[in-house]
C-alpha cells in the first residue's frame, strides 16, 4: 500500500492543512482495520518519528498520526482520519447556526467571555436648571368677591 507521508504544521480542529517534508513509501495494514483509523507497518526509519500526517490514496483520505510503536526493524503507525480536511467541501456547503463566529456576529448578544469587575462606577451629569435662590416665589391664594365690584 502506497502512503504519502507529511509534516502538517496545522493543529487539529482546522479545516485546512499545510504540508511539507513529503515522502512516499509502501507499507501494509496491521490486521483488519477501519478506514477511519487504520494502523500500518512501515520499515523503520527515523523519518517517521518527525512527521505527523499521511495520505492514503487507496482510501482517499488524509490522516493524522496518533501513535507510533517501534517493533524491531518495523514501526507501527496509528492513523486517524482528518475528517475536517477530507470532507472540507461538503462541510463548507452544509447548513449551520453559528453559536460563535469570528466573521459574522452580533455585539448585541450577551458574551460570556466578557467579564465585569465588581461594583459600579459613576458619572454625574447636571442639567443646567437650578432651583431656589433668585428663582423663588410665594403664591398667595385668597377667596372673595370681585375686587372691581
Amino acid at each position: 500500500m502506497v502512503i504519502d507521508w507529511y509534516t502538517n504544521s496545522v493543529p487539529p480542529g482546522r479545516m485546512y492543512n499545510n504540508l511539507s517534508n513529503h515522502r512516499q513509501s509502501s507499507g501494509y495494514l496491521r490486521d483488519a482495520c477501519g478506514v477511519e483509523s487504520p494502523s500500518v507497518y512501515m520499515e523503520y526509519d527515523p523519518y517517521y518519528m518527525n512527521i505527523n500526517y499521511a495520505y492514503i490514496p487507496d482510501f482517499g483520505r488524509y490522516y493524522r498520526i496518533t501513535g507510533r510503536q517501534v517493533d524491531g526493524k518495523r514501526i507501527l503507525i496509528s492513523l486517524a482520519s482528518d475528517v475536517m480536511v477530507n470532507f472540507r467541501n461538503v462541510i463548507l456547503n452544509s447548513d449551520c447556526i453559528a453559536e460563535r463566529s469570528s466573521s459574522r456576529f452580533s455585539i448585541g448578544l450577551e458574551d460570556g467571555f466578557i467579564k465585569a469587575e465588581q461594583g459600579y462606577r459613576y458619572n454625574f451629569s447636571k442639567f443646567p436648571y437650578t432651583f431656589g435662590g433668585a428663582n423663588s416665589s410665594y403664591v398667595l391664594t385668597v377667596t372673595g368677591g370681585d375686587p372691581q365690584s
Binding site: V83, V90, L92, S102, Y129, T141, G144
Partner: protein
Amino acid sequence: MNYTYNWNHNNTAYTFNINFIEQEELITDAHEADPYKLRVTCTNMEADQKDPNTMLTRRVRGSAEFALIALNNDPMQSRPVYGTYWRENTPGQYFAREVIGISTSQDAGAGYSSPAENFELNGSTFNYTSNNFSFIIDGIAHTGHFNETQAFQTFWVFIEQMLFESGVYDSINGTVEMDLEIEVNLPAFDTFAHFQAYIADGATEGLLNGELEPVPEPEEYYGKYYVNNLVSNSPGIGQIRYEYYYKFDGPTNCLGFYSEDGKTAKLKAYHGGPSAIYSSDDRGITYEQTGSYPSTFYTESDVSVPLYVLTFKTNIPFFEGDSTDSGKDKLDSFMNGTPAPSGREYTADDAVNRSLIEDADIMGKIGDLVTQTTNGVSSIGYTYGVQMFNLSTTQKNTFLRDILSAARVNDLLDNTKLFGSNQIGALQSLRYFPIDVSEVCTEGSAPSCQIGSYTYNFSSSVNQILQNNKIINMGEQFFRSPYENGDFRNFEPWCKLYVLLPYAGIHELVISRYINKRVGIKLAVDVTTGACEYHLYASGLEMDSFQGQMGTQIPLTANDKASQVSAVQNGILTSVSGLAQSASDVQQTFGAAGAMMMGGMDAGKSLTSGGITPGINALNSGVTIAQGAQTAIRNFLNAPIQTKGASAGNLGDFGVNSPYFIFAWANSIAPANEINLVGKPSNQGGKVGEFAGYLKCSAFRLANGFTGTASEAAQIASQMMEGVYI
C-alpha cells in the same frame, strides 16, 4: 495642552515640546464656511550637529513661524475635514485623503498633518499669513521666508524646510530640540488611535486643543439604507477581494435587491433612486459622499471559485427567486404594487431580510406612528372668586405685616366670617416655590385683592396669576452609549441609568429608552397644590414622568395649634425618616451617589439657620418642640418657615437643586484576542462556507454528497459543535 514627542530619524534625535493652544470653538462641520486656521510657532530651536565632512560639532539656534488660513468655501466640492492628529512614523495608520484631508500620497515620516493640501486640491482660497524664520548658525544670522511654491502638505514638511534652511537637515549624528506652539481650530489629537475613536463615535480622549460637543447622531448625516458586503479570496480577511460599504438617502422603497442564484444580489433603483450615496473605505467607520455604487453584490460563498462572503448585511428589501416567481418579479411586485406573474402581490413581509426593513410587520404599532408626543396645558383661570398672586419675598412680608396688624385685623375678621371654618379662612393658602412662578403661569397685574368681602390694596401692583398654563423646559442633553452602538454592555445590568430630580427623588430609568438619543426634561408645577411633575423625553417622545411635591405650605391660621404642631412633627418625622431611609438605600445602591445625597442634606441644615422671614416668626412662637427629636429635626423646626400638616415639602429645598443623571457602569474586560480565538456570539444561520475564522455551531446538518462513514459524520458534527477554524 502640553505634549512631548520624541523621534529618531537619520541618526538624529528629535524632541518636540509642543504647546497646543486651546481653542474656544473647534470646527467640525464638513460644510462649514468658516476658515480653517493653522499657526505653528517655533519659539526656540536648538540643534547640535556634526558636519559630515569634518565631524566637528556645529550649533544652531533659531525661531520660526508658519501660518495659513483656508476657506472651505465650496461645500459641494470640498471634502469633509474632521480633525487632525500627531502623525507618528507607523505604517498603515492613515486614512484615505478624501476622508480627513490628509494626503497619503505624499506621506511624510512623521509630523503634524495639516489640512492644507486638501484645500489646495479643491481649489479653495488658500493664503499664507506668515512664514518667517530666523536662525543663527555658528554665529551667522540667517533670516528669510519659506518658498511658497514648496508643498506645505504637512507640518513635517515645514520642519524639514526649517531644518534644511538652517543647514541641519543634511547632517546626521545630531540632536534637535524644538519648542513649538500650535494653534489650530480643527480638533487635534495626540495619537492616531484617539483620532480614529473620535471619527468613529465622537470620543474626545486625547484631544489636545479644546473641547468638543457630542457629534450629531449619524442619522443626521447618513442615509437610512445601508449595505455592507465584504468578500475575500480566502476564509479569512487576509485576501480581501471586495469591500462594499454604502449608505443611501432616498425616498421609501427607492432601492431593492433581488437574487436568482442565491449567490449574487442585484441592486435596482426605483422611484427616482437614491438621492445621496455615501461610501466607506474603512469598513464603515467613516463615510463620504460619492456618486456611484456597484449593482452586483455577493451574498454567499462559492468555494469552487474560491470566493468567500464574510459580510453581507442590508436593510434594503431583498427578494430571492423561487419556483413561484423570480426574485426580480417579486421585487417589481413589491415596488410597483402590482401582482407578480404568478398573480401574487409581494410585500415587505416577503423579503428575506424583513426584520431589518422599516415598515415590515415586525414593527408593532397601534395607529399612526409619531416622532414626538404632545402635552396639553391647563386652562383653569384664577381671576374671579379665587385669586392667586405671585409675590416676591418683600411683597409677601409686607402683605402679612399689614393684614395681621391690629389696625386691620378686626375689619378683616368682620369681612371673612362667611368664608371657611375659621376666622380668616378666606386666606386660602400661602405657598413657597423654589421657582419663578411666572415660568409656569400667565400673569397679569393687580393693585388689590379681595379677601372675603374685605378689599386689601397692595402698596403697589403685584403679579396676579391668571392661568397655570406653562411648562418649564429644563434643557436637553445627548446621551451617548459608552460602548459601540448596539453592544450589549450598554444596557442593564452592565450599565444603569438614574435620574435625580429635585423634589421628586431618585428613579432608575430603562437605558434603552434613552441611549443615543437627545434626552430632555420638562417640568410642570401645580401652583394650587404645590405638586410637580417631571416629563422625561427621548428625541421628542415622552418616556417617563415622575411626580413630587415642590410648593411648601406656610401656615397662616392657628386655630388648632396643637394639631398643627403634631402634624408638623409627624410630617417631619415621616419625611426625615423617609429621607434617611432613602439616603441609606441610595448609599447601598450607588455608593458615591448616596454620599452625595447625604452631603446635600447636611448642607441643607446650615441653610435653615440663616433666617428667612422675620415677619413670620410671630406665627411660630407658640410651637413647642418635641423633646428628644433628632438634631436634624430640631434644626429643621428652628427654621422660621415650617411645613404645615403632613406635607414636608421644603425638605426638598435641602436636597440637590438641579436635575442630575447618574450613569453607573461596570468596568468590563474583553479579551483582546477573543474574536480570533473563540469568535463572538452570533446566532446567525447559513452555510459553513459563509463564515470565516473560528466557528462554533449550535446546530449543524451535513449537506448531501457526503461520502464518509457514519462515524466520520458523527466526528464532523461533534467537531462543529465544539468549534473549528475554517
